[in-house]
Amino acid sequence: MSDASLSSDWLTCREFVEIVTDYLEGSLPASERERFEAHLAVCPGCQIYLEQIRETVRLSGRLTEDSISPEAQSELLRAFRDWKQAG
């Protein structure tokens, strides 16, 4: 690590993992984002950590493969017709 790691401006890894979500959600102020990216550029552990969080998000997005059952659809259509008649 360079001398930059000694300056008070330097983000520690422990701090890094707490602002990963703000970084990915685009809500870090510009100055914080610079500190985040400066740290990321030189820290293999945090590069892996960020990669793992991205992978976690991607895998969560794969939990949606599913399809509507014909029974559910016809039951709803029946409910709609009942509602129409009642109204």
């Binding site: 690590m1 790691s5 520690t12 890894c13 422990r14 701090e15 993992v17 707490e18 990963v20 979500t21 703000d22 959600e25 809500s27 820290c43 293999p44 552990g45 945090c46 892996i48 950590y49 990669e51 793992q52 969080i53 992978e55 976690t56 998000v57 895998l59 969560s60 997005g61 794969r62 939990l63 949606t64 599913d66 399809s67 509507i68 559910a72 659809q73 039951e75 709803l76 259509l77 409910a79 709609f80 017709r81 509602w83 129409k84 109204g87």
Partner: protein, 227 residues
């Protein structure tokens, strides 16, 4: 806008939704089926976070659709139809979860109390994995994470891995579970999530952060155990 129309209600960001509502009130079945095909599965997936079985989830969603139909007259286009429908589901599902839920239920202090509990500070990573204060590199990794880069794609996307993700989400405290399900599973924009759950954007991000950190930890343990 420079002119005031007598049909002002048909303008604005949710004009399409107001038109759709008008069709539904006219009894347009195609409009209803298109609404169902847009949201039914998302609603069922979301309801499953609260109850024990798929059948119970379908039940809550059925109840939600009926409430949507009977409440159509009250929809004024102040939010999108989508967030309005999901707000109805959240209310029904939370009530159902209190009665017969399968997992951690809400704080006895209600949603506000639950929010306080879940916003309490909690480290994303076990503090023991960082170098202790006093060390030259205090706060740096003592035990850095191992890359998942060499895990083959088919193993990452296997039913077993996805099952681990689902199980980790199921075990989250309720608000974190709701937020990660809408943000990462369904891919909603944060503003819509805040509307449906009635929370602020900063709080939504803290809940998301806690949830993602916990699911990552579960995956890390799972992959470490497989080797």
């Amino acid at each position: 806008m420079s002119t005031v129309s007598s049909e002002a209600a048909a303008f604005g960001p949710f004009a399409n939704d107001l038109n759709l509502v008008a069709s539904l009130r006219d009894g347009d079945e195609a409009a209803f089926l298109s609404l169902v095909s847009s949201y039914h599965l998302q609603l069922v997936r979301f309801a499953q976070l609260y109850v024990r079985t798929r059948e119970q989830a379908e039940d809550v969603v059925q109840e939600t659709w009926l409430a949507v139909l009977t409440g159509l007259g009250r929809f004024e286009g102040r939010s999108s139809l989508k967030t309005w429908i999901f707000s109805i589901l959240v209310n029904k599902a939370r009530t159902r979860a209190r009665q017969e839920g399968r997992t951690v239920s809400y704080s006895a202090l209600g949603v506000a109390g639950e929010l306080n509990t879940e916003l309490a500070p909690e480290p994303a990573v076990d503090p023991g994995r960082f170098l202790a204060p006093g060390h030259q590199w205090a706060g740096g990794w003592a035990s850095p994470p191992a890359s998942w880069g060499s895990i083959p794609e088919e193993r990452l996307l296997s039913q077993e891995t996805l099952g681990c993700v689902q199980q980790a989400i199921d075990q989250l405290p309720p608000l974190q579970r709701e937020v990660i399900a809408l943000r990462d599973v369904e891919g909603w924009p944060p503003a819509e999530i805040c509307q449906v759950l009635a929370i602020s954007e900063p709080n939504q991000r803290v809940l998301l952060h806690r949830a993602r950190s916990r699911v990552r930890r579960a995956l890390e343990q799972y992959f470490a155990g497989e080797e």
